[in-house]
């Protein structure tokens, strides 16, 4: 089992390599109609920990994942 440090290093790769495998895996990940997974995140403006599910409690939510680069 990966140590926490290894898990961080594996996820946050240091060099972009490209490839298609993640795109193919996406197609079977969360089919239309499946329950959206909840997770804890930090709200940047408040610094508070929040649950993603709170954003679909009172309406639909459009969630974009991304980074600066």
């Amino acid at each position: 089992m990966a140590t926490p440090e290894t898990a961080v290093a594996l996820y946050n790769y240091e060099a972009f390599m490209g490839g298609e495998s993640d795109f193919m895996a996406f197609r079977s990940k969360l089919p239309i109609g499946s329950p959206a997974p909840d997770f804890t995140a930090v709200a940047l403006d408040s610094g508070e920990k929040v649950q993603l599910r709170d954003y679909w409690k009172d309406g639909d939510v459009v969630i974009e994942f991304g980074s600066l680069t």
């Binding site: 795109f23 197609r27 959206a36 709200a43 993603l52 599910r53 639909d60 969630i63």
Partner: protein, 165 residues
């Protein structure tokens, strides 16, 4: 887009993930503090007005949704996936939101609306000059890594996931 649909049932959230093209200026995250710092840069540089949520440094949330660099999901009020896209193309998202609003409007007006399952191949404008701007912002390493990936890709057979219309 968030402003256009404000007050029309949709919340808009941006989830900040790992850096897709780490470079000297924005290297791979090692701590949450560094990730929060990069997220603040993103908010300023890209003028992101939406709520920004920062995933943990292990990418727990990102892994749950598929680890791609720029996905979009539309989730309904009950927490079910209504739409997903492996790349974010704003014109496509607008069409999807208009489609959802229109279907609900017709149902409210009394039309019998039967749900059905659908998938599609999307096409988007790939602006290479903008992509280079992003890589330059990240630093020389990001440019070099990208060029390397392109050279490797050119030596590979056609990608099975690229479906032409």
């Amino acid at each position: 887009m968030a402003k256009k649909y404000a007050g029309q049932e949709f919340n808009f959230v941006f989830v900040y993930t790992r850096e897709a093209h780490p470079g000297e200026n924005f290297p791979a995250h090692q701590t949450l503090e560094q990730k929060l710092d990069h997220a603040r840069s993103l908010q300023t540089v890209l003028d992101v007005q939406r709520t920004i949520l920062v995933d943990d440094v292990e990418g727990t949330g990102h892994e749950l949704y598929g680890t791609l660099p720029n996905m979009t999901y539309v989730i309904d009020r009950g927490g079910k996936v209504l739409f997903r896209s492996d790349w974010t193309d704003p014109p496509t998202i607008e069409r999807v939101l208009d489609y959802i609003l229109d279907a609900r409007k017709q149902r409210r007006e009394g039309l019998r609306m039967a749900p059905f399952y659908s998938e599609m191949v999307g096409y988007r404008w790939s602006d290479l000059s903008k992509h280079h701007e992003v890589l330059e912002r990240a630093g020389p390493q990001a440019l070099s890594d990208w060029e390397g990936s392109q050279k490797r890709g050119a030596q590979q057979p056609p990608r099975p996931g690229r479906i032409q219309i």
